[in-house]
C-alpha cells in the first residue's frame, strides 16, 4: 500500500502554487484596498490587518450610499446582466430542450457539436465578427435596415442614429453579452434536460396531463438545477466583463463595474479604489460562487455513490 504521505507529497507543489498565486494574490488586493497611496497615486499596501486604513473603503461606500457614480455603475451592471440573462434563457431553453429531447442519432451529434463549437472559438473573435457586421456599412447593419428593425429600434429609442449600432448603444451591449455567453447557459441546461427520465413525462401524460402542463409541472421543475447552474455560470463572467462594452459601445454610458475596475487598476489611474471595487464585486459574487461550488460537490458525491 502506498503511504498516505505519498499523496500529500504529490499534492504539495500544486497546493503551494495555488496558495502563492491565488490566496496570497487575493490578500494583496485586500492589503491594497485597506492601504494608502503615495503622492504619485501608487498604492502602498498595509499587510498587517492591525494597520488597516478604512478610508478608501469608506469613500466607496459613501459614494454608493449617496447614489454616486459607483452606485450607477453597479446598478447598470445588474440591469445589463439581468436583461441579458432573461434573453439568454428565452433563447437557450428551447434550444437545449430540443437538443436533449428531440435530436437523436447522427443529428443529435451534429446539433451537440454545433452547441459546443462557440466554446472553441475565441470570445474576442466572436466579438470581432459582430463589429464587422454591425459597422455602418456592415452586412448586419444593411440587413437590419432593409427589414425595418433599424427603424423599429430608433422609434423605440433603443438606437440613436441610422447605422449607429456600435455608437454607444446599451442595446448592442446587451445583444453582445447574450451572443457571448448564451453557450455557457445552454450546455448545463442540456445536461440537466438530458438526464430527466423520460418515464416521468410519460407518467404525467398517462395521468391525463396535456403536453403543455406536462412540461410545466414535470420537465420544468426537474430542469431547475440546470437553469440555476447555467445562470450562475453565465452571470459570473458577465459581472466581470469589461471588454464587451469596450468593444461594441466604447462610451462611458455603457460602463459596467468591470470597466470601472479596469480603468482604475490596469489603466492605472487609482489602484487603491480599484482594489476596493474588486473586493466589492467579489463579495457580491461570492454568493453565486458558493452556490455553484456546493452544487458541483453535491453532484460529484452523487456520481461517486452511483
Amino acid at each position: 500500500m502506498t503511504s498516505r504521505w505519498t499523496w500529500r507529497f504529490l499534492a504539495l507543489p500544486g497546493v503551494v502554487w495555488l496558495s502563492l498565486f491565488f490566496i496570497v494574490a487575493f490578500y494583496a488586493v485586500i492589503a491594497v484596498a485597506f492601504g494608502n497611496q503615495d503622492s504619485f497615486s501608487q498604492p502602498v499596501p498595509f499587510w498587517n490587518p492591525l494597520d488597516w486604513n478604512v478610508g478608501y473603503v469608506l469613500d466607496v461606500l459613501r459614494d454608493i450610499w449617496h447614489g454616486g457614480q459607483y452606485l450607477t455603475v453597479f446598478l447598470r451592471t445588474f440591469a445589463f446582466v439581468a436583461i441579458a440573462m432573461a434573453v439568454s434563457l428565452a433563447i437557450g431553453y428551447p434550444v437545449a430542450y430540443f437538443a436533449a429531447r428531440h435530436a437523436h442519432g447522427k443529428w443529435g451529434g451534429i446539433v451537440l457539436l454545433a452547441l459546443v463549437l462557440p466554446f472553441w472559438i475565441n470570445y474576442l473573435m466572436r466579438m470581432l465578427a459582430w463589429i464587422n457586421l454591425l459597422s455602418p456599412d456592415g452586412w448586419a447593419t444593411r440587413l437590419l435596415h432593409s427589414i425595418g428593425i433599424e427603424r423599429l429600434f430608433i422609434s423605440l429609442g433603443l438606437l440613436s442614429s441610422r447605422g449607429g449600432w456600435l455608437d454607444g448603444q446599451e442595446s448592442t451591449v446587451i445583444f453582445a453579452l447574450v451572443y457571448g455567453y448564451v453557450p455557457f447557459l445552454i450546455l448545463p441546461l442540456y445536461a440537466s434536460l438530458d438526464r430527466i427520465d423520460q418515464r416521468h413525462i410519460e407518467a404525467a401524460r398517462d395521468l391525463g396531463a396535456s403536453p403543455f402542463s406536462g412540461f410545466l409541472r414535470v420537465t420544468l421543475p426537474l430542469s431547475r438545477p440546470g437553469i440555476l447552474a447555467g445562470a450562475v455560470l453565465t452571470a459570473l463572467p458577465m459581472f466581470g466583463d469589461y471588454y464587451t462594452p469596450d468593444l461594441v459601445c466604447a462610451a462611458p454610458k455603457c460602463n459596467m463595474i468591470g470597466n470601472q475596475i479596469d480603468q482604475l487598476t490596469r489603466q492605472g489611474s487609482e489602484k487603491v479604489t480599484g482594489a476596493v471595487l474588486t473586493i466589492a464585486l467579489a463579495v457580491v459574487l461570492l454568493v453565486l460562487m458558493i452556490y455553484y461550488l456546493r452544487a458541483t460537490r453535491r453532484a460529484g458525491k452523487e456520481a461517486a455513490e452511483a
Binding site: T6, W7, F22, F26, I121, N132, L133, P183, I261
Partner: protein
C-alpha cells in the same frame, strides 16, 4: 413533401418549432464567425465589403499575417506562452489530482475548495489580484512573460485537475490493488499502472490547457508589460474597432484553426482511449 404539408397544417405541433428555433440559433451563433473568416480572404482593405477572393492577408508581402512584424510577434508570443503554460500546468495539475483523489483527512477539503475557486472566480478579479501581487510582492519578477505564464498556469491548473480526476474516478482502485497484490512497490503502482491508464486524460488536459492559454485575454492582458508581450487576443481587443485591414481577421482565423485542431485532438484522444459517449467527452472537455 408530406412533412412540409404536415408542418404547414400544424406548425406548432410537437417539436417542429423547437427545431426551427434550434436551427436559427445555430446559424446565428456560427454564421457571423464564418463571415469574419470569409473576410480574412477579402481581396481589398475592407472588412465589410466583399472585393473578391485572395490570400494576400495571409501571405502577401505587406501587412499580412506572415510578414507583418506586429502580427508575427503577437503570434509567436501567444504560442510560446501556450507551450510554457502546458509544460508547467500539466505536471502540476496531474500531481495535484492524484494527491487530492487519495488524500483523505484534515486539509483535503480546504485544498479541494481552493483548487475549484479559480474556475468560478471572474477573470477580472484574478487579473487585478495577480497584477497587484506582481507589483507589490514580487516587484523583482515584474510584469511580462514570466508573470503572464504564472497567471495562465494559475487558472488552467484546475482544468487539468478536474479532467484527470474524472478519469481517476472511472479507473477505480482495482488496477493499483492488483499491482500491489502482485508485489509492485508504490512507485511502480504509480508509474507503471496508474500513469499509463491516465495517459489519455493527461494528453487531453494538456491540449485543453494549450487552447485556454492561447485564447486567454484578461489575465494575459493584466500581466503584460510592453509591446513584445502582446498576444493575439490582446491584439484583437486593441484593434477590433480601428483595424485598418482584414489582416486582423486573417490572424484571428489562424488562431481559430489552431484552437480547433488542438481541441479536436483532445476530444479524439480522450474518446479513443477513455471511451464514453460524445456528450460525456464534450462535457469533460468543456472549456
Amino acid at each position: 413533401m408530406a412533412g412540409v404539408l404536415g408542418w404547414l397544417r400544424n406548425p406548432w405541433g410537437k417539436p417542429r418549432w423547437l427545431g426551427v428555433v434550434t436551427l436559427l440559433y445555430i446559424a446565428w451563433s456560427i454564421l457571423p464567425v464564418g463571415i469574419a473568416v470569409l473576410f480574412a480572404f477579402n481581396n481589398g482593405r475592407s472588412r465589410t465589403t466583399w472585393q473578391g477572393f485572395s490570400t494576400r492577408w495571409f501571405t502577401g508581402a505587406v501587412g499580412s499575417v506572415f510578414h507583418d512584424p506586429a502580427l508575427q510577434s503577437a503570434f509567436k508570443h501567444t504560442l510560446f506562452l501556450g507551450v510554457l503554460c502546458v509544460a508547467v500546468a500539466t505536471p502540476l495539475g496531474v500531481a495535484l489530482a492524484l494527491g487530492l483523489q487519495r488524500w483523505r483527512g484534515p486539509g483535503s477539503g480546504v485544498v479541494n475548495t481552493m483548487m475549484l475557486l479559480p474556475l468560478v472566480t471572474p477573470e477580472i478579479v484574478m487579473g487585478v489580484a495577480l497584477l497587484l501581487l506582481f507589483l507589490k510582492i514580487f516587484p523583482g519578477l515584474g510584469l511580462g512573460t514570466t508573470a503572464q505564464a504564472i497567471g495562465q498556469v494559475t487558472f488552467t491548473l484546475s482544468y487539468v485537475v478536474v479532467i484527470v480526476r474524472g478519469r481517476l474516478v472511472s479507473i477505480g482502485r482495482e488496477y493499483e490493488e492488483a499491482a500491489a497484490d502482485l508485489g509492485a512497490p508504490p512507485h511502480d503502482q504509480l508509474l507503471r499502472v496508474l500513469l499509463p491508464l491516465l495517459a489519455p486524460a493527461i494528453i487531453a488536459s494538456a491540449a485543453v490547457v494549450f487552447a485556454l492559454s492561447i485564447d486567454d485575454f484578461v489575465v494575459t492582458q493584466y500581466l503584460s508589460s510592453d509591446a513584445s508581450t502582446t498576444t493575439v487576443p490582446m491584439l484583437l481587443y486593441a484593434s477590433a474597432r480601428g483595424a485598418p485591414t482584414p489582416a486582423l481577421n486573417a490572424i484571428a482565423t489562424v488562431m481559430l484553426v489552431v484552437t480547433l485542431l488542438t481541441l479536436s485532438f483532445a476530444f479524439f484522444v480522450y474518446r479513443k482511449f477513455a471511451g464514453g459517449s460524445d456528450a460525456a467527452v464534450a462535457a469533460a472537455l468543456e472549456v
